[in-house]
């Protein structure tokens, strides 16, 4: 659209002018313009593959642009490597943590820049300063704890503390909240405000639109490597942002059709295990039951216990009339259950395997004659699902690790749909994927429900659970604290039930 508004009073901290970056075969950035002002929080949004990460990598010096100009404080710069970028006091907080698990928090914070006294590491200063930083973040972590012993969320905050210790002027954050709880997000945002007050420019990359409205001053949308728009956040509606990102009107992010509720398919009674107590659940055919909870509420544990992938210590689960043995995924699958786990890469995808082989992994028996695989049959089935789920891949033989997050998730969905299950458990199926892919996954869920599947849908994000679920259970600390019908659920009620201790105050 238009060129970014340039505030004439201030020299931009960072300016990109017509930056292009081409990888042989792919144009990653196409004449990109971007301006980051001192003291602003600038959100950068776009679908996966839109060019956000290329932009970050150019700023961090990992990539060199093919053409165009980059200016820091008005000086043209050309970074030959990350060291040049760091020298200009740019700090990038990557999504994948680059912490050393065996080293302590303090050692990690000062990694590569240990304070020294007479040639030896000055441990007192190191741990003292780290303590101060952590206090500032409201974290009560002992700086001497090995990082590997921290929870992922805490590790992420340590990573951010590291950014602070380096006294950066430009901080780039790549989806920093993906593993944080609501409280921790609040802390992070307070911290970002403090950075802002010090005149630091923050480039904030995210998929979560609500965060943008809470924290950002301006927003830049990229699509297909091109600058789409830069605007003040107060002047936009979320709907506009989505339209800009996707490049078309997303008429319905949540295509919810009314499905006649069928007979009961899944009945879990008084299920317990691994921090879960007295869990009851009924799922009817054609119904989408949402399970909402904040990080640590146990929603994903429930998913695993139902499927038998985590230990069930008590209770009964009946699927379509037959009782499911505890702790046996094989039995759950046999009786018609499927589970999409919340960590695609940890326990879903087999990264070095092809798209096809990943899809057929859970249903090989159906392609095997006396254990001999009929690979043509396999390919046909896989092609069917590539079409039906519109999975974007160069071929069935492509290794799944080279697909985008959204497409990877669809491959996993295909894995389970191939078994033609009666009940599908989806644990945070949209985590970390772009809006377009999200919409497709919602559409699929809706379509499956229409075909009579019962779906259990775990999520930590309120909008999607309100948008797609017929019934919503809210969990807190391993227990169900509330249940709402689609018609009566609101954001406030969910938050209330998920966050407030029912012991101290009566939850809705």
């Amino acid at each position: 659209m238009s060129a970014p508004p340039t505030d004439t009073n201030q020299t931009p901290l960072l300016e990109m002018r017509a930056i292009s970056k081409t990888f042989p075969g792919v144009v990653a950035l196409d004449s990109m313009d971007f301006v980051l002002l001192p003291g602003e929080v600038h959100a950068l949004i776009g679908e996966n593959g839109a060019g956000k990460s290329t932009m970050i990598k150019i700023i961090s010096g990992l990539y060199q642009p093919d053409s165009g100009e980059m200016l820091i404080d008005g000086d043209p710069v050309s970074f030959r490597g990350p060291a040049d970028s760091i020298a200009r006091r740019i700090k990038v907080v990557y999504q994948e943590l680059d912490l050393v698990p065996g080293l302590s928090v303090g050692e990690n914070v000062y990694l590569g820049a240990y304070p020294k006294k007479g040639g030896r590491v000055d441990w007192e200063t190191l741990y003292g300063n780290t303590r101060e930083l952590l206090d500032g973040l409201g974290l009560s972590i002992d700086p001497r704890t090995p990082v590997g012993e921290l929870r992922v969320a805490e590790q992420q905050l340590v990573e951010i503390a590291r950014a602070l210790s380096q006294d950066a002027r430009i901080v780039v954050m790549d989806e920093p909240t993906s593993a944080l709880s609501t409280e921790e997000v609040d802390r992070l945002f307070r911290l970002i405000e403090r950075l802002q007050e010090r005149g630091v420019g923050v480039l904030y990359v995210t998929h979560k639109l609500d965060e943008i409205y809470r924290i950002a001053d301006r927003v830049t949308v990229v699509r297909d490597g091109k600058h789409v728009v830069t605007t003040e956040i107060s002047k936009t509606r979320p709907h506009d942002l989505v339209t800009w990102m996707v490049g078309r009107e997303l008429t319905a992010l949540f295509p919810k059709s009314t499905v006649e509720r069928g007979p009961v398919l899944l009945q879990a009674t008084d299920v317990s295990g691994e921090g879960i107590e007295h869990f009851d659940l009924t799922v009817h055919s054609g119904e989408i039951v949402g399970l909402f909870g904040l990080l640590g509420a146990g929603i994903n544990t429930v998913a695993r216990i139902l499927f038998g992938a985590s230990e069930r210590t008590g209770g009964a689960i009946v699927l379509d009339g037959s009782t499911i043995k505890p702790n046996s995924p094989a039995d759950a699958m046999e009786k018609g259950m499927g589970l999409l786990t919340e960590n695609r890469k940890d326990d879903g995808l087999v990264l070095p395997m092809s798209v096809r082989d990943n899809m057929t992994l859970a249903s090989l028996r159906q392609f095997a004659r006396l254990s001999w695989l009929d690979s043509r049959n396999e390919s046909e089935a896989a092609t069917g699902f590539v079409e039906r789920l519109s999975i974007r891949t160069p071929s069935l033989r492509q290794r799944v690790q080279f697909l985008s997050g959204g497409n990877q998730q669809k491959v996993l969905m295909a894995r389970w749909l191939m078994r033609d299950p009666k009940i599908l458990i989806l644990a945070e199926p949209t985590r970390g994927i772009d809006v377009g892919s999200k919409a497709e996954i919602y559409r699929l869920m809706d379509e499956m429900a229409q075909r009579g599947l019962g779906i259990v849908f775990m999520s930590t994000e309120i909008p999607e659970i309100l948008g797609i679920a017929d019934r919503i259970l809210v969990m807190r600390e391993g227990r169900v604290t509330a249940e709402f019908d689609r018609s009566e659920a609101t954001q406030e009620k969910l938050v209330q039930a998920a966050a407030v201790d029912p012991e101290t105050s009566e939850a809705a």
Binding site: F23, P24, G25, V26, V27, F307, A309, P329, A330, M333, L339, T341, D346, D347, G348, L349, V350, L351, P352, M353, D357, L361, A362, L364, R365, F367, A368, S371, W372, L373, S375, T383, V386, E387, R388, S390, I391, R392, T393, P394, S395, F402, R415
Partner: protein, 341 residues
């Protein structure tokens, strides 16, 4: 969606040499075949005595125990597990076989006992790793010491000689079918079976899945433990077969069989053959080719009369070079794919 959406990166003008490079870089077997050709070519050029057919038949014959053991190890390593006990297995099986033959005066019972050692140790390894959940590297390392110790204790470090002198037994090693020696045939049959199992069956696919992501395999309902257990048994049984062959060579149960790093040679060959140390990637044919390459280098140097101590040096250097080459090849494969070849 009306048709499949295949996102092709924009076509760059394709240069001919890169297309060939991509082809070679992508095909492990071809690159290894090329290396084998280079090695053979070198010795053909440098050593006149290598210019006869017999040399190559002998090569196959000599490496057959290694090939057979490599089949088991490759399958195990594809599932991201190790077995270091196979070197000691050679001695254990050999000694057990010949002892049993002497005690029972029956060759067949002896062979049966030899094969049973494979089953026994395989089950033990498998049980410890999959059900007691001990780490495979350390478990089989312990087994390696324990078995060797057992053999030393039992034999008092003297070879166990076949008192009946079963000539039938030695034919296990010396027998021929046409021009081909029995062990070679055995090795090729096992390789063919392993190839078939790994590429064409559900069991094989499951092995790759476990090696690629054990958690994902488990959540997909694959019986991970049972498969891993079976792989330890396969690996041990392959080693037992190698042990039988080696015992048949001299009609003796030799206490020091495989003591010079047999297990490491096999693992090195399998890894050179492209089987990933972390599992899930590689194939049996490449692993077999790598065994042949290492075998050819050793044999060629022996023909040239190079001293054993220097042979060791050369083999070491060649291995380093091969690992480097492998690394370069992988990098090219990725790079050329990114460039759209």
């Amino acid at each position: 969606m009306a048709s499949v959406q295949y996102a092709h990166p924009a076509k760059a003008p394709r240069q001919g040499w890169k297309r060939y490079a991509a082809f070679w870089a992508r095909n492990e077997e071809l690159s290894l075949l090329l290396i084998l050709a280079i090695v053979v070519g070198f010795f053909l050029y440098a050593e006149p005595s290598s210019r006869q057919r017999k040399v190559y038949w002998d090569l196959l014959w000599e490496v057959s125990p290694t090939l057979i053991a490599a089949v088991g190890i490759a399958m195990l390593m594809l599932a991201a597990q190790f077995d270091l006990s196979i070197g000691s297995m050679l001695a254990f099986t050999g000694v057990a076989t010949v002892t049993a033959m002497n005690k029972t005066d029956s060759m067949w019972l002896g062979i049966l006992v030899g094969l049973a050692t494979g089953l026994l140790i395989g089950c033990l390894n498998g049980f410890l790793v999959t059900y007691v959940r001990m780490q495979s590297l350390m478990t089989t390392l312990g087994m390696m010491f324990a078995l060797r110790g057992l053999v030393y204790t039992y034999t008092n470090k003297t070879p166990v000689i076949d008192e009946n002198q079963f000539t039938q037994f030695t034919r296990l090693w010396f027998g021929k079918v046409g021009p081909v020696r029995t062990p070679v045939i055995l090795a090729f049959i096992l390789i063919a079976i392993a190839w078939f199992v790994l590429t064409q069956t559900e069991y094989g696919r499951n092995i790759y899945a476990i090696g690629g992501n054990e958690q994902a395999a488990r959540v997909s309902g694959i019986p991970v433990r049972r498969i891993l257990f079976s792989l330890f048994v396969i690996s041990s049984c392959c080693a037992a077969i190698s042990g039988l062959l080696i015992a048949a060579q001299t009609d003796t149960g030799y206490f020091d069989a495989g003591v010079q790093g047999f297990e490491l040679t096999v693992i090195a060959a399998v890894v050179l053959g492209g089987v990933s140390m972390s599992g899930g990637q590689g194939n049996i044919l490449s692993a077999a080719l790598a065994v042949l390459i290492l075998g050819m280098i050793g044999k060629g140097m022996r023909l040239m009369g190079i001293h054993t101590t220097q042979q060791l040096l050369v083999i070491g250097v060649v291995m380093l070079a091969a690992v480097y080459f492998h690394r370069v090849r992988r990098r090219w494969a990725v790079r050329l794919r990114n460039e759209g070849y």
